[in-house]
Symmetry: C2
Amino acid sequence: MSQSLHLTAFMRPVSLHTGAWRYPGAYADANFNFTHLKAFAQALERAKFDAFFMADHLAVLNMPVEALKRSHTVTSFEPFTLLSALAAVTERIGLAATASTTFDEPYHVARRFASLDHISGGRAAWNIVTTSNPDAARNFGLSDHVEHGERYKRAREFFDVVTGLWDSFADDAIIRDQESGIFFDPERMHVLDHKGEEFSVRGPLNIARPVQGWPVIVQAGQSEPGKQLAAETAEVVFAAPRDFATARALYADIKGRMPAAGRNPDHLKILPAAMIVIGETVEEAREKRARLDSLVHYDSAIASLSIALGHDASGFDPDGPLPEIPETNASKSGRAQVLRLAEEEKLTVRQLAQRYGGYAGLAFVGTKETIADEMERWLHEQAADGFTCVFPFLPQGLEDVTGTLVPELQRRGLFRTDYEGATLREHLGLPRPANRFFP
Amino acid sequence: MSQSLHLTAFMRPVSLHTGAWRYPGAYADANFNFTHLKAFAQALERAKFDAFFMADHLAVLNMPVEALKRSHTVTSFEPFTLLSALAAVTERIGLAATASTTFDEPYHVARRFASLDHISGGRAAWNIVTTSNPDAARNFGLSDHVEHGERYKRAREFFDVVTGLWDSFADDAIIRDQESGIFFDPERMHVLDHKGEEFSVRGPLNIARPVQGWPVIVQAGQSEPGKQLAAETAEVVFAAPRDFATARALYADIKGRMPAAGRNPDHLKILPAAMIVIGETVEEAREKRARLDSLVHYDSAIASLSIALGHDASGFDPDGPLPEIPETNASKSGRAQVLRLAEEEKLTVRQLAQRYGGYAGLAFVGTKETIADEMERWLHEQAADGFTCVFPFLPQGLEDVTGTLVPELQRRGLFRTDYEGATLREHLGLPRPANRFFP
């Protein structure tokens, strides 16, 4: 159990909340305005955040055109180009990017993350996703989507290949002896020669071992195969359970699987994603959230519900309960969450849609004190090792967190007042992996 | 015909010359030292270079271990992460990266270049390569290499898909009307729905149209299909003919094919790659080059010759002439160049190996005046629209060019003294492509 919190920021340029671009003071042009993103990353670094984490999709989100036209998520920077640019204008904050194991190649993924790790001096993290959006499949030559279990099987082998490629060179392989002319020791280079069910990759990677050994491994999945993959491979999990009880159960579940996978539970930090809305009073915070949600159009709301369900919800009775729907190939954890929410809070289709159309996940809405209380409780009662912060609107929602909540957490000794190490692994208290070929 | 020269820098972190890391004052650690790369890019920008162009490979180069251990090219930054980071610390210089049409997906390539173009404010360029290195194939699940003609067929369709994806949104598609809640006009978004022989890609791209419309298209190929692909698609060609006569013929050949492809020959800039070695006297420049070449070990030299030939040359008699070798699937233009050089200069295997082991291409070795004379001749006699500069060693070789040759060219009115535009297209005098779906 950690003695203090870890905080990362889960970002889209305009915010993850779909109404955010219309909020007073919002940077509606942030999708392609690097200046804003640079200011966000630098503000988070001044607040000593562990990492800046960029959300991603491999397609224009599949929603009806009437909803799509209201969405600020339609287009924005690609994460690698963005995070590499941010690496050049920050010094210490971690930089986490998403790469899909379903629609990319292990050699490319290993290479880009290793390069980002070298450029940033050891601050890269890889969010492993298996990509459940069927429209993404159609952008990569597949007419239908890869089945859920198959995606996770491929992800597991993809991880083995990528980490094997990162270990291509011993940490001391590069000699650079200008006198003798020997640049590196080929005995300290390993040819992976992987031949598996999904991939055949010879190697070696044409990049020296990353500064961190391996970039930090991040995952979200809450489905059964997602939890198992996390227990076996992840070092950060940002799964977003809907409440404290679910979070505690998830925390125990994932960490409980780790010993059987030969891992120390302290080597995985569970940082649930939570939208944080701060007011001078709890009432003011609730009003901010209500104002923000009111900016979401119903057309967008119902489309988002359809995505979460993996099923077109536009024909449902808005004022009735959620009808029975057939099982599909969409993300299982997302779908289960909708069904639980509908059942437990007895929400109508309209109410569900409004929740999903804005931001469906866990939210802390209150004052800096009530939110710090809540975070402290989650930390001390083993529901979380910290949080993946979602800002309701930008820049103000971020400034509320860095300007009021972080100082409150620091005052209580729950969050660092300065970075102690240089790398993301050091910020997170994670060990540097040994090289499997050159132990 | 251009009235003044265009200059780009073709870079590897330590230089393209294999002996460069041993040259006095060289930054032998530059492969993973971003500070050096930042200094190089900023120096080239102060000298008003059109672009910084990063060389690339998708594998550790295939040479015998005894040669490999002497090579500084074994590992270095991946180009996208590097150029994106450089975009954040430069303002005007163009940024050209390589992406392979054989081992990548059009959706990924379109997305990353569009994002780099947005991050840099319109400074991205895509060097289209078809990748002839057989070891690259083995890193991507292919046991043997894709045949030469097939690679170019795939490249042509890849180009059509990528440029089609860049045209997914009209330039005025994004509205961002916070009052009405309309973020963009879906009538100004095009779903590509490409179904070809090689690719099936639905689209649209999830990135707004690049600042330049399309990033600038760059190519090297000198083979028949390479020249034809360039005439149809390229806006910059950096093919490196070995001398003035060959350059003039190539210039006429490629530009001569353009009208039949419906293109204006002024819309393609031919910038031959040339290593530039400058001395106070011609003799001093030649001594610099001789000293540099002397730092290349014979083991590396013979391996490089094998790569250029696509054939293992290690068993050849070093002091005999180049024996007959069977035709292979390696890059045809590279192979033809070796055969011509061997024949015309009557070089032994050892002499050829030493040439290829250092830097095999065109070189201008002289004083700032003799080199400026040569460049002026190439420009005025339609052998080149400028040059792709290769620095023999870094940082000094770069400083020699920016500090002495560039001022000499500027004094003669042959090179800009300041940038006139903001984008790479503007530096190169290239038109912004119309959107094929929203003309």
